[in-house]
């Protein structure tokens, strides 16, 4: 990947963060921590990897994405709006009466959202069904899946892990957002999920662990995963819950937060500064 492409993807990730903070900021509360931690992986998927048509969201041969940690909806909505699935202004309607952008992802409301999620664990199985359908139809398309590290507490995740191996879902790439936290705090204090990659490996998956905020590492890991076609792949993203907004990163219980204008503006200023740095570099390549 050349420098320019890398910078473009970093820019996309930063835009996703900015729009996500704005969305939640307008409402004053939301699941901001776990939305910000997956922004980089979303940027790589939608900015480079996925075969999609934003003007035809239901295109039958598209790659699909299931955000099983459905509460990260706002990050997904930012990504889709920036890709042109719907107007940017729609982002202002998060959780408003009659909105098409609810807290948790809903395939019947939002253009570009491929599956309804929110009850943790359930998105995993639905992604397996989608990947299986692609395989049964001999399609080249892929299924991408986001799972929370806390979500891995659900037995359904591991029922799915067995299934995906049994049915050789080589077209499935699952990301586990290992931000080390769930709702009640650190996963190691609530329900220690241990070595996630080793667990998936022991279920017969191809698994790797990378820095989930390193765009290049994400690109490389996905490319490697796509070469594995006889079994499912798991990419464990080591991330920071609330990534990009210092006050949020430092907050211990940062799952569902109330934020005021000062908090939002400070966070946006930090992200705008990152953005300015990227733009400056981009101008020079």
């Amino acid at each position: 990947m050349d420098r320019k492409e890398l910078l473009e993807l970093q820019k996309f990730a930063t835009q996703i963060r900015i729009e996500t903070v704005k969305q939640v900021g307008i409402r004053g509360f939301g699941h901001l921590g776990g939305a910000l931690s997956i922004a980089d992986a979303l940027a790589v998927l939608y900015g480079k990897v996925m075969n999609i048509r934003p003007d035809d969201p239901k295109w039958a041969d598209r790659d699909v994405m299931v955000c099983s940690k459905g509460h990260a909806g706002p990050a997904v909505y930012s990504t889709l709006a920036l890709k042109g699935y719907f107007p940017m202004e729609m982002l202002e309607t998060l959780n408003q009466p009659g909105t098409k952008l609810p807290s948790h992802c809903d395939r019947n409301l939002t253009p570009g959202v491929d599956m309804t999620t929110g009850s943790l664990g359930q998105g995993v199985s639905t992604a397996l069904g989608m990947a299986l359908a692609q395989k049964l139809d001999n399609k080249d398309s892929k299924t991408y899946l986001f799972i929370g590290d806390g979500e891995c507490n659900e037995g359904q995740v591991w029922e799915g892990a067995m299934f995906a191996h049994q049915h050789k879902l080589g077209n499935l790439v699952a990301f586990v957002d290992d931000n080390g936290k769930q709702l009640d705090g650190y996963t190691k204090d609530v329900m220690d999920v241990g070595n996630i990659a080793a667990k998936f490996e022991s279920f017969g998956w191809d698994a790797t662990t990378i820095d989930g905020h390193d765009i290049e590492a994400i690109v490389d890991a996905i490319e490697a995963a796509l070469k594995v076609t006889d079994k499912p792949s798991c990419i464990v993203l080591k991330t920071v819950k609330g990534k990009g907004v210092k006050d949020l990163e430092d907050m211990m219980l940062n799952h569902h937060v109330r934020i005021d204008d000062d908090f939002t503006n400070k966070g946006l200023a930090e992200l705008e500064e990152v953005m300015a740095g990227i733009e400056k570099e981009l101008a020079n390549v």
Binding site: R27, F29, G30, G70, N95, Q96, P97, G98, T99, P102, S103, H104, D106, T116, T117, G118, S119, L120, G121, G150, E151, N153, E154, G155, Q182, L183, D184, G185, V190, M191, L253, H255, H256
Partner: protein, 321 residues
């Protein structure tokens, strides 16, 4: 005895604080009380209790089915488990474990499902239980409760501590209209006449109790004298009281923050049909899924308002002729 202090104001204390404080009290008074949660302690007012009492509060992580099985095992060994998660995850996400390991195996477990119905508000459709009472009612011998305010929540939590079998309690995590004076006492299985009247009876539970009191005030201005019953125990429903209200007022409107399929309305109408048929209308969610939005907006959308209750009462009184 209970004392009604309803005056249209919202209660001071959020139910999550009532829950946290009551659990701490129960745990202090009875060494066998154990509290289980599925990664929602910081959402339900018990985070501090967990941090201070790590052996009395057991965080099960996001594993509701496992949690219900663990609760059953604790009960089998003589503990008194209280398990909490949001209503949908406390009912449909783990239904077979609740049915078999808890109820069928005759273990004694109290389940608290918070964010009842539209009170799930901004968490939206996936988190909005309109069917939890229907599911729990379908379990033999289960006790199913939808509380009207925090005073009642504290009381039923305390009473359920030594209750046999499965007790399911639902409520908001936030604040409802205040209904009862804190000195009030309640009996599980007995409905409360919280406002007397002779033209019709509104039988309500949960957030609809306050709405029904408001509706009765609105109707009084039109010269209609309407009784309001807080039927917080939806199962076993107080059949004697239902019959008495039917006989004395001749018409019944039920009001619930739940699907009209399988909830309070069905429980009351079953009694009426067999014992004392009088006109009945149900106010509740008309077989719809939940959706995201502010609670007051959702109450409008689904007709869970004092205005709709009042309108329905007027209709039924007119139909009595």
């Amino acid at each position: 005895m209970f004392k009604v202090i309803y005056n249209g104001e919202i209660e001071a204390k959020a139910h999550k604080d009532v829950f946290g404080n009551t659990l701490a009290e129960l745990a202090a008074e009875d060494k066998d009380v154990v509290y289980l949660d599925a990664d929602l302690m910081n959402s339900s007012g018990t985070y501090k209790f967990w941090k201070e009492n790590p052996t009395r509060a057991i965080n099960c992580g996001i594993s509701e089915a496992n949690m219900m099985g663990v609760a059953a095992g604790l009960s089998a060994m003589g503990k008194k488990p209280f398990a909490h998660t949001f209503g949908p995850f406390a009912s449909r996400r783990c239904f077979d474990q609740v049915f078999l390991s808890i109820a069928y195996a005759k273990n004694n477990v109290r389940i608290y499902g918070s964010d009842a119905g539209v009170t799930a508000a901004f968490n939206g459709g996936t988190h909005m239980p309109f069917e939890d009472m229907a599911l729990m009612r379908a379990i033999p011998h289960a006790t199913v409760i939808d509380v009207a305010d925090g005073v009642e929540l504290a009381a039923v939590l305390k009473q359920s501590k030594d209750r046999e079998g499965l007790t399911y309690i639902r409520s908001t995590r936030k604040n409802n209209y205040q209904i009862y004076d804190p000195s009030s006492e309640f009996e599980i299985g007995k409905g409360n006449i919280i406002r007397d009247g002779k033209d019709a009876t509104i039988i309500a539970c949960g957030i609809m109790v306050g709405e029904s009191m408001k509706a009765a005030d609105m109707l009084a201005e039109k010269g209609l004298d309407v009784r309001v019953v807080d039927m917080f125990t939806v199962k076993p429903v107080d059949a004697e009281l239902v019959k008495k209200c039917a006989e004395e007022t001749g018409a019944i409107v039920t009001a619930e923050n739940h699907n009209i399929v399988g909830g309070l309305g069905d429980a009351v109408s079953a009694v009426l049909l067999e014992e004392c048929p009088v006109p009945l209308k149900k106010v509740g969610v008309n077989d719809e899924f939940g959706q995201v939005g502010p609670q007051d907006y959702l109450q409008e959308v689904y007709g869970l308002t004092a205005e709709n209750v009042a309108k329905t009462v007027e209709e039924i009184i007119a139909s009595k002729g």
